[in-house]
Amino acid sequence: MSELQDLYQEVILDHGRNPRNFRRIEKPTAEAEGLNPLCGDHYHVYLRLDGDRIADVSFEGAGCAISKASASLMTSTLKGKTVAEAKETFERFQRMVVEGDRAQAQSLGKLAVLKGVCDFPTRVKCASLVWHTLQSALKGEEKPVSTE
């Protein structure tokens, strides 16, 4: 049961219930759509860039507690960061949740609460979906991102 408690920490449940930056940005610099056809998770990520700095980032959509908390924590963490910093954070986040490299947690701040996801291989996609969607927005891709 400890793994389950590790996954569904209070912070995650809180962000899942009351997601931060859960809104649309009018006239965004970039936006992208992400979906997980397996479970029906469906998100939009909006981005407003000021030069190479992320002035604002937000999301809308529906999905499980893990995907929503990940989106909420991602947007909170990345606001104000440069695009390069965001990419580096994404890579460290991926190492933590996909490869189970828990050492990354130390440098990931609030995102560290998602480290328990690596013990649930079927849920890694939930945590990663909005991150891939953000990457797609940064690259200016038009086709929706899919975790399949």
Binding site: Y8, L13, A65
Partner: protein
């Protein structure tokens, strides 16, 4: 067992012994995350009795060869095993002739075969294929693709709020442009059993053939294709306690005969020159390439096993499980069952207020309870009920009340976590 009932007419039939049945499904006797496995996902795929696994293993260890072409003994045995399976499936379905049984990969391939062969020949611009709002994607997308190609139209019959097909509405939609009615026998998400005899009669009154998607029907009750009167019947071996990779398209011989082939290759021809190809007779015309021989052998073994099953007992047991599960789940605050048709099989889709089905699935897994979460390949149906996804417990005759209790306990745990 049949001997006992015929000679001792006064004796009550032996009660259905679920524990005895479970012993034939060795996979069920295991622990997951330290808890006894409660496998409640048989609508996704059923578990297999030992006899099916043994038959396939025996085939590979003793009889393996390619079919229909070798002159040596192994090839004869392999061909006999493959064709024997076809005959057993034909008998099991009540088909008039084994030639009416086409082996395919599964229900999806069966529907695609009909769409590609029958559909491309018979559906033209402005024509209509009539389906229902509860179809699996595999009985939507092949028709959508055909409609796109031909400039035809997909017409959809609606459901009511219980998930019951509005048959009057379906009948009203059968018109002069309808070329085929393609309907699921049982809904994989709702469990609804559709009145297929009535649908077939209504369609035939307009001279329209009917395809039934039987994937979710055959695991729950015996079907008889001639009694139903359908023109095509499709199902997957792996949902009928047989292996993956093999499925069946039943088609009336006259219809199969009139259809062009859909895939070209070996086995489906009589003779080939660069100028002229003569196609084989049915069913071979529709089975290009080396088939899944071991899969057919496994399906034949599953059918043999099911012939010996006490179906009346199994169905009574499933009805009890469905009633028990419905009652237990209804006690859980915030839980809503999607699909409450009066005539349904033991499939229970539900949503829990404030908790996404995916989170339900993960927590139940830690309790040893395997359920399916998501849209169950029925996205239009999810839209109809205004939910993005559901959790689904789907039962078979090998399930027990104790497993339903584990589900209810697990859902209590979900509510604790998401308090």
């Amino acid at each position: 067992m049949s001997g006992a009932t015929s000679t001792q007419a006064v004796a009550r039939p032996a009660p259905f012994e679920v524990e005895r049945v479970r012993r034939e499904f060795p996979i069920l006797a295991q622990r997951v995350h330290g808890k006894p496995l409660a496998y409640l996902d048989s609508a996704a795929t059923s578990q297999k009795p030992q006899s099916v696994v043994d038959a396939m293993s025996r085939y590979y260890l003793h009889d393996n060869a390619n079919v229909h072409r070798g002159v040596y003994q192994l090839a004869e045995r392999a061909t006999a095993a493959y064709e024997g399976a076809r005959e057993r499936v034909a008998r099991y379905l009540g088909a008039a002739d084994p030639r009416e049984i086409v082996f395919v990969r599964g229900t999806t391939e069966a529907v695609n075969l009909v769409a590609q062969a029958f559909g491309r020949q018979n559906v033209g611009p402005g024509d209509e294929v009539l389906i229902t709002g509860m179809e699996h994607h595999s009985n939507i997308v092949p028709w959508y693709m055909l409609a796109q190609e031909k400039g035809a139209r997909l017409v959809v019959a609606p459901l009511d709020d219980r998930g019951v097909l509005e048959v009057d509405e379906l009948e009203r939609r059968i018109g002069p442009r309808t070329r085929l009615v393609a309907v699921t026998h049982v809904s994989n998400t709702l469990g609804t059993v559709n009145p297929v005899r009535r649908i077939v009669e209504a369609a035939h009154a307009h001279g329209v053939p009917v395809l039934l998607d039987g994937a979710q029907a055959v695991p729950h009750f015996r079907v008889d294709v001639r009694e139903m009167g359908c023109d095509f019947y499709a199902f997957s071996g792996h949902k009928l306690f047989g292996p993956t990779g093999i499925g069946v398209l039943y088609g009336k011989a006259a219809l199969l005969d009139a259809m062009p082939p859909w895939q070209g290759g070996g086995d489906m021809i009589l003779s080939v020159t660069f100028e002229r190809v003569l196609y084989n007779r049915i069913p071979y015309k529709l089975e290009a390439g080396t088939p899944d021989i071991a899969g057919a052998v496994g399906l034949g073994a599953a059918v043999d096993w099911l012939q010996r099953l006490d179906w009346a007992g199994a169905q009574a047991h499933e009805r009890d499980l469905l009633a028990y599960a419905t009652a237990r789940l209804s006690e859980i605050p915030g839980l809503r069952i999607i699909g409450t048709a009066p005539d349904k099989v033991s499939v229970i889709s539900f949503v829990l207020e404030g908790v996404h089905p995916h989170d339900i699935g993960t927590i139940l897994d830690r309790e040893g309870v395997a359920v399916r979460v998501g849209h169950h390949c029925t996205q239009p149906l999810m839209q109809r009920f205004g939910v993005p996804a559901t959790a689904r417990a789907s039962l078979a005759f090998y399930n027990t009340r104790e497993e339903i209790d584990a589900l209810a306990t697990g859902l209590g745990r979900v509510r604790e976590v998401f308090r």
